[in-house]
């Protein structure tokens, strides 16, 4: 009985990080309307940056966020400007291939420069745990969840209450009208990509204490992010959050009770199920489902 709660808690904790990473994607896809296959690779780069800061300067991973996050924000802006903007008018199939190519390039550059070895950071708190009501909670995972939660709430607030946030939401809802209203859409694309990249990078930083880095570490996260976004409903931040937690829980339960290696099969299965049964997503407002083609 206790095991179930243990697994549940672990699932929720990692789910928070999944939600964080997926929100980055939700933002990018919602605003810029591009399927970014290199999404997980942004995560990978952030993790490597954190690793090298730790290796070279002994910097604590959480602290290095101060440097890595702005850097990744700019990287996101750069990606949008250099890679995405030129193909924004191209057919979406061509856009896919451009981001697939980007993913290939990033992963292999990482391979070239940093080799394929699994890199890990040792921190004093990596192994520390708390015990609450007979449930053991890993501290770094708890920190990850809490930071994710706070970040998501901040983003939520930003989107709801600031002018820029509202402009972003306007673009998500209707790009053309937003443009006609005088919103500088191209600039906001840059912002959205930068923010999306930063949030994803944050997810990576939070993962570092209990996860190793290697060139292809980001690949499953691209898939997870998309599944979470579709599951939660495009355009719904709260949906993405809930869906992230859901996937985290399902993955952990699946890994414990079924087989650790069949995780991907499990969430692909869920993905298909959702598409068949409730295409607008579990919590979706139905916005953007036409984009995916789910009517």
């Amino acid at each position: 009985m206790e095991l179930i709660f243990q697994v549940l808690v672990s699932g929720l904790l990692i789910g928070g990080v999944y939600a964080l990473i997926s929100i980055g994607l939700n933002l990018i896809f919602g605003v810029v309307r591009i399927i970014n296959f290199a999404h997980g690779d942004v995560l990978m780069l952030a993790m490597y940056a954190t690793f090298w800061l730790n290796k070279g300067f002994g910097m604590d991973p959480y602290l290095s966020a101060l440097l890595v996050l702005p850097a990744m924000f700019f990287f996101g802006v750069l990606l949008q400007r250099v890679i995405v903007q030129p193909i924004q008018e191209a057919s979406s199939n061509m856009q896919i291939f451009a981001t697939v190519a980007l993913s290939l390039i990033l992963q292999n550059l990482a391979l070239i420069f940093w080799k394929g070895d699994f890199r890990t950071i040792q921190t004093s708190y990596a192994m520390s745990t708390l015990e609450v009501m007979n449930i053991i909670i890993s501290v770094p995972r708890l920190v990850a969840f809490l930071v994710a939660l706070v970040s998501i709430l901040s983003l939520f607030s930003f989107l709801k209450h600031t002018f820029v946030g509202k402009a972003l939401r306007a673009i998500v809802e209707d790009n053309t009208v937003a443009r006609l209203m005088g919103i500088k859409v191209e600039r906001l694309y840059l912002l959205a990509f930068g923010l999306g990249a930063a949030f994803t990078a944050l997810g990576g930083i939070l993962l570092i204490p209990f996860s190793s880095v290697y060139p292809t570490v980001g690949v499953p996260f691209t898939l997870i992010a998309f599944i979470v976004v579709v599951l939660g409903g495009l355009g719904s931040m709260s949906g993405t959050f809930m869906a992230g937690l859901f996937i985290g829980v399902v993955e952990t339960f699946g890994g414990t009770y079924v087989s650790p290696a069949l995780k991907e099969a499990l969430y692909f299965g869920i993905f298909i199920l959702v598409l068949l049964v409730r295409p607008q997503g579990l919590f979706g407002k139905g916005k953007g489902t036409e984009e995916i083609g789910l009517k």
């Binding site: 191209a90 057919s91 199939n93 697939v100 190519a101 993913s103 998309f226 598409l275």
Partner: protein, 332 residues
Amino acid sequence: MSANRWQLLGFILLAAVVAAPVLVDSKFILHMVTLIFFYVAMTSAWNIPVFGGKMSLGHAAFFGIGGYTGAILYVKFGVSPWIGLVAGVAMSLLGGVIMTLPLLRLRGPFFTLASIAFAEVLRMIAIDWRSLTNGSVGLNIPFKPGWANLTFQSGLPFYFISLILAAAVVFVSYRLRHSALGFHLRASASNDEAAQALGVDTRRAHFIGLLWSSGLTGLIGVFYVFFIYVVEPNTMFSIPLFSLQPALNGIIGGIGTIWGPVIGAVIMTPLGEYLRFYLGTIQQGLNFVVYGVVLIVTVNFIPGGIVSLLARLKPSKGSNGPGSPSGAKEVR
């Protein structure tokens, strides 16, 4: 040069490639040309749903399913590879059904994404289902040469087999494109809503196109398995090798056309091998970086591929010739 001169040059080049192993006695060239034919077949098969604007990156799944079916039946149950061919096609058709039924409703990029996921999942299953597939260790086709076992001492039989396979797939692709199915796929890619308003069941058209594609890819997979003898999950279900590569070939050659995949495969296969051997040994991964850059440049500047470059040379008469690029521009 006028368009006709380019066409002539192209044919000469193609003939040279086909005849090379006959003219030059080299195992390397024989192997390379055979590989080129395999990729011509794979790229053409991948290209069929592209008539309708569906670019799957999950074809490694069908390739792997076909290959593993043939290999498992032969190695574990002693079933003849020739029967394995039929079984391989049947299994990859089944895979095609499983993949497309739920996923066809997805538009462009989401479909592509889901197709990658499908291939990835199958790869994981191949690794995990050890009792069936031997997991990561893989299966080895025992060396018992003879046509009955589809295993040979010399590389020549597979040269011919792959040549016939390539010609067959290109032919099927040609016939499909010029059939009612081809028309409906192209109409759907152009404007799905209008096509439906005219009475075209576009879902069904895409479904059938994908079935053809998956079945053919599975067939190629079975042959391939007996060509290389070693069957393991990370190769057979390799997305870079059997999903990305055909797609890359297709895009560079010219997607949605008949000759595009052929041109793309003929150019990119040796280039890819060269990149892998020379750049890959200097620095592992460098070849993929080059791939990535080539892909981005092509997507940005020549989305219609080489065929579209050649088409620009023709005076615009509007005739379709071997096929005008569909799927490059109108799919959204």
